[in-house]
């Protein structure tokens, strides 16, 4: 009997198990609490993952107890957190305390307990994402636009009492970009983003985190379009800049074109040739030496251009070469019809001057390559005898017979157009000069010599002090004696010897108007009686004074006697190279500047014996 009961029981059990197995039912699998979170340090929620349910409806229960307590509690809220969750309300939540939590899964077949988890609310804090994210594009005037992002903290978080501290972070990117640009915003609830790409659509997100805890998830993205206005502004600006610069360039080009010639001449002044002031070839041709010489000495033309045209630089002439009368083109009067050659009087020097590229080289019939210079000894006129002075002009004379410059050597000769209506065609005068050259050569056959830094010899007082003598003889004597002092066998074209130059004119006084650096004296043409006077009448104030040279000192210093009667005092100048007589520089300079109106080139200082300082003239040359 007992055996039957036992076997029956076993059979039933086996049947039962078979039935169960066939049905697939089993006790529930072990659940697992996988996450607990507190959004505000005042509540927290735990979630579990149920295990296999065993084919049967399974109940889950959560049990917990706190550190230091023995009493076990059940989950107070299975609903708020969703399925398979347990929510702990404020009264159930304690900070700085370990919770020991377990979940029990129960079904008909049995129950299964999960592993214990140890949870301290302190370390499971994760807030919700920020709310009400608002993004605006702000565009202040004259500044670049920026994004202004605003948000508010998530609900249920107590920031006011300081129980909870939130820190924020922003990320944004242009719509099609791959990488986000993040900015940490600290505890503030707004933020400005300054580096923007205009014309793009931006996505903006914000998240937050407690002072010690986990970052929240990102807020939903906020799209905003950045306007592209400033690119247009840039374009307009660049267009206007381009137009303005084009206009400026055009103006510059136009100005350069107009003034190009004069600018070029400023930068590269032409080489002047020596000129003889007032040398009228026509007169020479006619044989009116007196007039010619007076013309040489007394021209008083206003300079048409550079004042330096009045002067002729120092000229050197070799023995080896035949003397030729050289006339040099300086600045030529356009009306003369000559080919204008721009000669810079400053660079007029020596033989080169005679080689000026003017028509001289073509026209001069003299065999010499370089026409010689008509040189005359310097003469210093006396103020007392204005009537009889020949001015010896050692300088070269221009074709047009421009007023001669009295130079002691190396001084520049500026030439003026001849004022006389009787002025011949330059070509004819050129021929005249050629004749003059012949004349110059013929009588002596010796090379003419220019005054060598003429002051050396020219200013012998013995000669100079004789301007009072009238008549040719006197002149010739002067010239001869003067001539005898020269180093070389100079052959002077004496007025007496050459018919053109022969003249019974009384000695004239010439006003010194400029001294060059080498001590050459440049004389102003004499004004007054001479028929060859420059057309421009002289002002009475401009009447020059003449100084009588009392003697010449060793260093070729002229010692003048001041003439106190005349209004202006003309200075006679020594011609030595670096002789240091004192002269009034300013007047000399002034004289250069405004030639026709120069009352006094140099004013003699007080005293009986005056010394002229070539330095002052030197300055004027420079």
């Amino acid at each position: 009997m007992k055996e039957n009961v036992a076997s029956a029981t076993v059979f039933t059990l086996l049947l039962f198990f078979n039935t169960c197995l066939l049905n697939g039912q089993s006790p529930p699998g072990k659940p697992e609490i996988f996450k607990c979170r507190s959004p505000n340090k005042e509540t927290f929620t735990c979630w579990w993952r149920p295990g296999a349910d065993g084919g049967l409806p399974t109940n889950y229960s959560l049990a917990y107890h706190k550190e230091g307590e023995k009493f076990i509690h059940e989950c107070p809220d299975y609903v708020t957190g969703g399925p398979n969750s347990c929510h702990f309300g404020k009264q159930y939540t304690s900070m700085w305390r370990t919770y020991i939590i377990t979940v029990n899964a129960t079904n008909e077949m049995g129950s299964t307990l999960s592993d214990e988890i140890y949870v301290d609310v302190t370390y499971i804090v994760e807030p919700d994402p920020p709310l009400n994210v608002v993004v605006e594009v702000k565009q202040p005037e004259d500044k670049k636009p920026y994004l202004w992002i605003k948000w508010s903290p998530p609900t249920l978080i107590d920031l006011k009492t300081g129980w909870f501290t939130l820190l924020y972070e922003i990320q944004l990117k242009p719509e099609n970009a791959e990488e986000w640009e993040t900015h940490f915003a600290g505890q503030q609830t707004d933020f400005k983003v300054l580096s923007l790409h205009p014309g793009q659509k931006y996505l903006v997100q914000v998240r937050c985190k407690p002072d010690h805890g986990y970052w929240s998830s990102w807020s939903p993205g906020y799209s905003i379009q950045i306007p592209s206005e400033f690119t247009m502004k840039d374009t307009t600006m660049w267009i206007s800049v381009a137009v303005l610069s084009a206009v400026i360039c055009l103006i510059i080009v136009w100005a350069v074109a107009l003034k190009g010639y004069s600018m070029a001449t400023c930068i590269f002044p032409p080489v002047p040739g020596p000129k003889i002031k007032g040398f009228d070839a026509h007169l020479l041709e006619k044989g009116k030496s007196e007039e010619l010489l007076s013309a040489l000495g007394c021209q008083d033309f206003p300079p048409t251009s550079d004042y330096e045209d009045l002067l002729v630089e120092y000229l050197e002439v070799d023995d080896s070469e035949d003397q030729h009368l050289m006339s040099v083109h300086s600045k030529e009067h356009p009306s003369q019809g000559m080919k204008p050659t721009y000669l810079d009087p400053d660079t007029d020097s020596g033989r080169g001057s005679c080689d000026s590229p003017s028509l001289l080289s073509e026209k001069c019939e003299e065999p010499q390559a370089s026409p010689s210079t008509f040189c005359a000894p310097e003469v210093i006129e006396k103020p007392e005898n204005p009537e009889t002075t020949h001015t010896w002009d050692p300088q070269c004379r221009s074709m047009e017979g421009k007023t001669p410059c009295f130079h002691a050597g190396g001084s520049k000769c500026s030439t003026w157009p001849l004022p006389q209506p009787s002025q011949h065609n330059p070509r004819s005068s050129y021929h005249n000069i050629g004749d003059v050259c012949e004349l110059a050569v013929r009588p002596t056959g010796a090379p003419a010599t220019l005054l060598d830094k003429a002051g050396k010899d020219a200013l012998k007082s013995s000669q100079i002090s004789k301007p009072r003598e009238e008549g040719k003889a006197a002149q010739q004597r002067e010239v001869e004696s003067f001539h005898s002092k020269t180093d070389k066998d100079t052959h002077w074209l004496l007025p007496q010897e050459k018919t053109p130059f022969g003249s019974t004119k009384p000695v004239d006084y010439v006003e010194i108007h400029k001294v060059n650096k080498d001590g050459a004296l440049s004389l102003l043409p004499k004004q007054g009686n001479n028929s060859n006077q420059p057309e421009k009448p002289r002002d009475p104030e401009n009447s020059k004074e003449y100084a009588k040279v009392s003697r010449v000192m060793d260093n070729n210093i002229l010692v003048l006697v001041p003439d106190l009667h005349t209004k202006n005092v003309a200075c006679s100048e020594e011609s030595a190279k670096e002789a240091p007589p004192s002269l009034e520089q300013n007047q000399a300079e002034k004289g250069l500047a405004d030639f026709p109106a120069t009352p006094s080139n140099c004013r003699l200082q007080l005293g009986g014996l005056e010394y002229l300082d070539p330095a002052c003239f030197t300055h004027s040359f420079h």
Partner: protein, 227 residues
Amino acid sequence: MNIEASPWKGSLLLLLVSNLLLWQSVTPLPVCPGGAVRCQVTLRDLFDRAVVLSHYIHNLSSEMFSEFDKRYTQGRGFISKALNSCHTSSLATPEDKEQAQQISQKDFLSLIVSILRSWNEPLYHLVTEVRGMQEAPEAILSKAIEIEEQSKRLLEGMELILSQVHPETRENAVYSVWSGLPSLQMADEESRLFAYYNLLHCLRRDSHKIDNYLKLLKCRIVHDNNC
């Protein structure tokens, strides 16, 4: 010789005594003693400074614990044993916002000071013991040293704040005594490791408490609950 020495002796003694007396009377002057009008360090500045320190100390403690656990005690289940084992649990500290808001300002400040004082000795021994360990973990040691240093500063600051807010408070002598040193020196590695684990676990918790309390107090005292 004796006749000459005695006056010197006397003067020397006098000098010594006067120095002793002077030393005793010297106390560090608090910044802005209560009631000082011209004081430049405001309460706000003190609280700002204190919050910075407490925040920093907790960060260090948290890192130190994580590093220690990861390296030495991962998987040993020490957490289950380190329950109710902190020496400062005897101090009645609030455990939620409501409790915290019910404590008076003065008590709250005194409490914070007590907690800080309670940690002076454990921190000192922690540094000493970690330093003496074989293959001392440098990261943990440096953090321990830093925490000890900053805790001292925080304590000074809190005492200052207390003297400003409640000048009438006498020096608070209440603090928890720590007796865990023998555990740190145990021969058994597991026991010793658990002792360190427990110490670091409690340190992390208490530093978080102090930080949270100070932020609460700052908003309450400086900003009138309107942070």
